[in-house]
C-alpha cells in the first residue's frame, strides 16, 4: 500500500479498508498455502540427497513421459470433443438440445475412479495409455464444454454479421470471428483439463497406467520413508504450478470486446439440414460412453454382481453418513473461508487483494495427495490432537476445494454492491439489519452455490481421503475403492458408486440451476463463473 493510499485510507477518503476483513483474508490464504511449505519441509527432512536420488531415476523419467504424453492427448481430445458438442448444443438446431446440454455435463459428478472402473470391469482390455486417454477424455471434456457453451451462448452475433457484410464467406466469418473469440476460453478450459489430470489417482490405478500419483502411493506401500513420496510430489507440484501459470497467462489475454451494450441477444440456431443425423450421432457418441454406460454398469453389477459374500468394514449406511457429514462440514468451512476473500477482492479492488485471491488458486494446482501428505506430516509432528481426526479431513477438503467455492460465489458477491447497503442505511436501517436484510439475501445464492460445488467434489474425493480418513470411519469413495480395487468384488462395490451418484444429484441439480440462471442474468455484472472451475 503506498503512502498516499494509506493517508487516504486514514482520512477515510477512499472506501475504508476493513481491517478485520483484510486480516481474516490474509490468515485464510496463509492457511491454504501452508501445505506447500510442509511438503518441502518433509522432503527436506529425509535429506536433499534422498530427494535427489529419488528423482534421478529412469523410473521418474518414465513417469514424466507418461504424464506428458497423456496430458497432450487428453487435452487435445477434450478440447475437440468439448468444443464440437458445445457448438452443436448452443448454436445449431440439434434435436432435443436442452436435454443433451444436461447429459453432456453429467460426467462432472461421476468420479474418475468410478468411470474408469465401469470401463475396465466390463472390458478388461481397456487399460494402459489408450485406456487412460479414452477414460480421461470422457471424464474431463466437460471442463471445456462448460466454458465453451457459455462462450457460444453469449457470443456477439453482431461481429459475425459485420464480418459477413465485409465480404467474408460464412465459413470464413465463423472461423475468423466466432472461433477466434472463443480461443482464449478454449485454452483456459484445456489447461484446466491438464491441471485436473495431474491430480487423479484412482482412475490410473484402475487402468494400470503409471503416473506420479500412482507412484506416490506405490512408494508409500513399499518404501519405509514418507520423504520419498514427498520428493515425488514435489515434481507434481512443479508440473501443476507450471500449468497454472500458463492458465493465468491465457486468462489475462482472454478479455472480450463487445460491439455495444446490447450486444448479447438471442441467436437463431443454425439449421443442420442433412447434417442432422451425423450431429445427433456425434453428441450421442460422447454422452453414451461418458454417462449412459457407467450408470448402466453400476446398475448391472448391483443386480448381477452376486459377490457381496464378504462382510464390509463400514456399511453402506455408515459410509453414506460419514461422507455426507465430512463433505458438508468441508463445504461449509470452504464457503466460510472464501467469503472474506471474495468480499475483499470484489469491494476493495487493490493490486494486493487481487493477488491474494489469485494466490489461493495455487491450491487448486496442488493434487489432493500432496495436501494429504502435508497434513499428515503436520498433525503427526506438531498437532498430535488433530492426527487422524475428522477435523483434519474436513480441513483438507476446505483447502483443496476452496477455489471452487471462491469461483462459485464471485458473481453474487459482486452483485451485493455496497451502494445497496448505503441505500438501506439511508432508509433508516441499522448496520446489522442491513447486513441481514440486504447483503445476506444478495450473497446467499452464491454461498449455496459454493457449498454445493465443494460438497459435490468432497463427496467423491478419494486420494486425500484414503490417507486422512479417521480410524474406524470410511467414506463411500474409500469403501468403493476397497472393494473395486481388488478386481473381483464388483457386486459389493457397485452400491457405493450408486450412492455417490445419488448423493451428488441434489447439489448438482441446484448448481446446474444456479449456473443456468447466472448465464441468463449476466448482463452488466460478472458472469456466474468465468472460465469454469
Amino acid at each position: 500500500m503506498t503512502a498516499t493510499a494509506l493517508a487516504g485510507w486514514l482520512h477515510g477518503r477512499r472506501r475504508r479498508l476493513p481491517l478485520v476483513l483484510a486480516a481474516t483474508s490474509v490468515v485464510v490464504v496463509a492457511l491454504l498455502l501452508a501445505p506447500l511449505g510442509l511438503v518441502l519441509a518433509q522432503a527436506g527432512q529425509s535429506g536433499w540427497a534422498t530427494v535427489w536420488s529419488t528423482l534421478d531415476r529412469p523410473f521418474v523419467a518414465t513417469l514424466l513421459w507418461n504424464t506428458v504424453r497423456l496430458a497432450l492427448a487428453v487435452t487435445a481430445l477434450a478440447a475437440l470433443v468439448g468444443t464440437v458438442t458445445a457448438w452443436l448444443t448452443e448454436r445449431t438446431a440439434l434435436a432435443a438440445r436442452r436435454a443433451w446440454a444436461v447429459l453432456l455435463v453429467l460426467p462432472v459428478v461421476m468420479p474418475d475412479f468410478v468411470l474408469a472402473w465401469t470401463w475396465s470391469s466390463m472390458f478388461p482390455g481397456i487399460h494402459g495409455y489408450w485406456g487412460a486417454v479414452l477414460v480421461m477424455t470422457l471424464h474431463l471434456y466437460p471442463l471445456v464444454y462448460l466454458p465453451m457453451a457459455a462462450a457460444f451462448r453469449v457470443a456477439d452475433p453482431g461481429q459475425e454479421e459485420m464480418a459477413r457484410a465485409l465480404g467474408l464467406s460464412r465459413l470464413q466469418a465463423w472461423w475468423k470471428v466466432s472461433v477466434r473469440q472463443a480461443r482464449s476460453t478454449l485454452l483456459g478450459g484445456s489447461l484446466l483439463v491438464c491441471l485436473a489430470l495431474l491430480a487423479y489417482y484412482g482412475a490410473f490405478e484402475d487402468l494400470r497406467y503409471q503416473t506420479f500419483t500412482t507412484a506416490i502411493f506405490g512408494e508409500l506401500e513399499t518404501q519405509f520413508d514418507p520423504g520419498v513420496a514427498s520428493s515425488l510430489s514435489l515434481v507434481l507440484v512443479a508440473l501443476s504450478v507450471l500449468v497454472l501459470g500458463a492458465e493465468a497467462g491465457f486468462r489475462e489475454r482472454g478479455k472480450l470486446q463487445r460491439s455495444g451494450p446490447m450486444a448479447e441477444r438471442a441467436q437463431r440456431p443454425l439449421p443442420l439440414g442433412r447434417a442432422k443425423v451425423p450431429a445427433l450421432a456425434a453428441v450421442a457418441l460422447v454422452a453414451v460412453p461418458a454417462t449412459g454406460f457407467p450408470v448402466f454398469v453400476v446398475a448391472y453389477w448391483m443386480l448381477a454382481g452376486g459377490s457381496s459374500t464378504l462382510p464390509t468394514a463400514v456399511s453402506l449406511g455408515a459410509a453414506t453418513a460419514y461422507t455426507a457429514v465430512y463433505s458438508a462440514l468441508g463445504a461449509a468451512l470452504a464457503t466460510a473461508l472464501a467469503l472474506p476473500v471474495s468480499l475483499l477482492a470484489a469491494r476493495h479492488q487493490r493490486k494486493w487483494s487481487g493477488a491474494l485471491e489469485r494466490a489461493t488458486f495455487i491450491t487448486q494446482a496442488v493434487p489432493g495427495i500432496v495436501v494429504a501428505l502435508a497434513l499428515v506430516y503436520l498433525a503427526s509432528h506438531f498437532l498430535g490432537f488433530l492426527y487422524q481426526s475428522p477435523e483434519l479431513l474436513v480441513f483438507a477438503y476446505a483447502v483443496m476445494f476452496f477455489p471452487l467455492g471462491l469461483v462459485a460465489m464471485a458473481a453474487s458477491v459482486a452483485r451485493a454492491s455496497p451502494r445497496l447497503e448505503e441505500v438501506g442505511r439511508s432508509l433508516g436501517q441499522g448496520p446489522m439489519a442491513v447486513r441481514l436484510r440486504v447483503t445476506l439475501p444478495l450473497v446467499a445464492p452464491g454461498l449455496v452455490a459454493a457449498f454445493c460445488f465443494v460438497f459435490l467434489s468432497a463427496a467423491t474425493e478419494l486420494t486425500a481421503t484414503l490417507l486422512l480418513v479417521p480410524t474406524g470411519a470410511g467414506t463411500l469413495a474409500t469403501q468403493f475403492w476397497a472393494d473395486a480395487e481388488q478386481g473381483v468384488a464388483f457386486g459389493s462395490a457397485a452400491p457405493y458408486a450408486a450412492m455417490m451418484m445419488l448423493l451428488s444429484a441434489a447439489p448438482a441439480y441446484l448448481l446446474g440451476r444456479w449456473f443456468d440462471r447466472g448465464y441468463r442474468s449476466s448482463r452488466g455484472s460478472r458472469p456466474a463463473f468465468e472460465v469454469v472451475a
Partner: protein, 344 residues
C-alpha cells in the same frame, strides 16, 4: 421482486445446513465412553480382522477401533508416529515389517504365555511379536495359455525371456517385498536385481495380488505370482465354475514357495497394554484361529492343532520354502532393490 425468490434460496440453504447438523448429531451419538477402547492397526484383510474383533469384543467387552491399510503403509505410519502412535496393536501379513519395528524399539515384549501358543519359528526371536497365520507363495496359471508341464520349477526362471508378455506381478503389494527379501537372502544382491529386471521386462504390473489372480483367471496373462490364498478367495468370489485358472506350487522347497508369516504385536507406546496383550493372546487362541481357518481367509493357522480350511492342501504336501524371520530381515534392502530395478 427478486427478494422473495432469493429468500427461497435462503430457505434451501438453511434446510441443507440443518440436515447436516442432524447428521453430525447422529454420528456423534455412536461413540460411548464407558468401556475400554484399543486401536488396532490392521494390515490383514478387513473381513478377517472384523470377524476376530467382533468375537473378542463380545467375549471381553473391550472395544476395538480398527484402522485398515496396507501393512507396509501402517508400519510407515508407526515409524512416523513414534511414541505418539495412537495404535495399541499392530497386525500385519508379513514378518519383515514386524522385524523393522522391533529394531526401532517400537514393539513391547509379549508375555511368554502368548508366545508359547505357536511354534517358536513363527515368533519374534526377541519375543516382540507372535505369528498368527501362514501363507505360501505360488503361481496362478491359466491352462488355456500354458500347460502345467511348461511351468517353471524355480521362481528365478520367470525372469528368462521365455516368459516375456506372459507374466503378471504386483510389485507394490505387501506380499511382494518379502519374496524379494527371500531371493536376496538366498541368492545374493546381483542375482536378485537381475531377477527383478527380468520380471520387469516380462510382466504387466498390477496394484495388488487380487488383480493379478483375476487377470490370469480371465486369460489376459498366462501366469501370475501370488500368495496361494488369493486364488481360493477368488474362487469364493466368482464361484468354482468361473475358475479358468489353476494354482501351482513350486516343487522341492523352491524359494517361490516362500512361507510368509502374518504376525501381531503390542506397541511399546500403548497406554492400554493389558487390554492389548489380551487381544494378541486372543489372536493366537484356538477360538480366533478357528475363525481364521473356517472363513474365506484360506491362511494356515499358526497354532498347532487347529486344522486349516479343508479346501487347502496340507503344508506337508505343499513343501514351502522356510526362511527364518531373521534371515528374511526387515524389507529395507528389498525396497531399495525394487527402486533400483525400476519397479517402483
Amino acid at each position: 421482486m427478486g427478494f422473495r425468490r432469493r429468500h427461497r434460496w435462503l430457505a434451501r440453504a438453511g434446510a441443507v445446513l440443518l440436515a447436516c447438523g442432524s447428521l453430525v448429531a447422529v454420528g456423534g451419538a455412536g461413540a460411548s465412553a464407558s468401556t475400554e477402547t484399543i486401536t488396532l492397526y490392521n494390515g490383514q484383510h478387513p473381513e478377517l480382522a472384523l470377524a476376530i474383533v467382533k468375537a473378542f469384543e463380545k467375549k471381553t467387552g473391550i472395544d476395538v477401533r480398527v484402522r485398515t491399510d496396507d501393512g507396509v503403509v501402517l508400519a510407515d505410519q508407526i515409524l512416523e508416529e513414534g511414541k505418539r502412535s495412537p495404535a495399541d496393536v499392530y497386525l500385519t501379513e508379513n514378518s519383515p515389517e514386524l522385524m523393522l519395528l522391533t529394531e526401532h524399539h517400537l514393539l513391547a515384549k509379549l508375555p511368554a504365555k502368548v508366545l508359547r501358543q505357536v511354534p517358536s519359528r513363527y515368533d519374534s526371536p526377541t519375543g516382540n511379536w507372535v505369528g498368527v497365520a501362514l501363507r505360501v507363495g505360488a503361481l496362478a496359471y491359466n491352462p488355456k495359455l500354458v500347460g502345467p508341464s511348461a511351468l517353471p520349477s524355480h521362481l528365478l526362471d520367470l525372469a528368462t525371456p521365455r516368459w516375456k508378455g506372459k507374466l503378471a506381478i504386483a510389485p507394490t503389494d505387501s506380499d511382494f517385498l518379502p519374496l524379494v527379501g527371500a531371493v536376496l537372502a538366498t541368492h545374493g544382491e546381483r542375482a536378485a536385481l537381475g531377477w527383478l529386471k527380468g520380471l520387469r521386462a516380462n510382466s504387466a504390473l498390477y496394484g495388488d495380488d487380487e488383480s493379478v489372480v483375476a487377470t490370469v483367471n480371465r486369460g489376459q496373462r498366462a501366469v501370475g505370482i501370488i500368495n496361494q490364498y488369493y486364488w481360493y478367495r477368488l474362487r469364493v468370489e466368482v464361484g468354482a465354475r468361473n475358475m479358468h485358472s489353476k494354482l501351482y506350487f513350486f516343487p522341492g522347497h523352491d524359494i517361490g514357495g516362500l512361507e510368509n508369516i502374518s504376525g501381531a504385536a503390542v506397541l511399546a507406546s500403548s497406554r492400554h497394554k493389558a487390554a492389548a496383550d489380551r487381544f494378541v493372546a486372543f489372536l493366537v487362541s484356538a477360538e480366533a484361529e478357528r475363525i481364521l481357518a473356517g472363513g474365506y481367509d484360506f491362511e494356515y493357522p499358526a497354532r498347532p492343532g487347529v486344522p486349516p480350511n479343508p479346501a487347502l492342501p496340507p503344508l506337508s504336501r505343499v513343501k514351502p520354502a522356510v526362511v527364518s524371520v531373521v534371515k528374511l530381515g526387515n524389507d529395507l534392502p528389498a525396497a531399495s532393490l525394487l527402486q533400483q530395478a525400476g519397479l517402483t
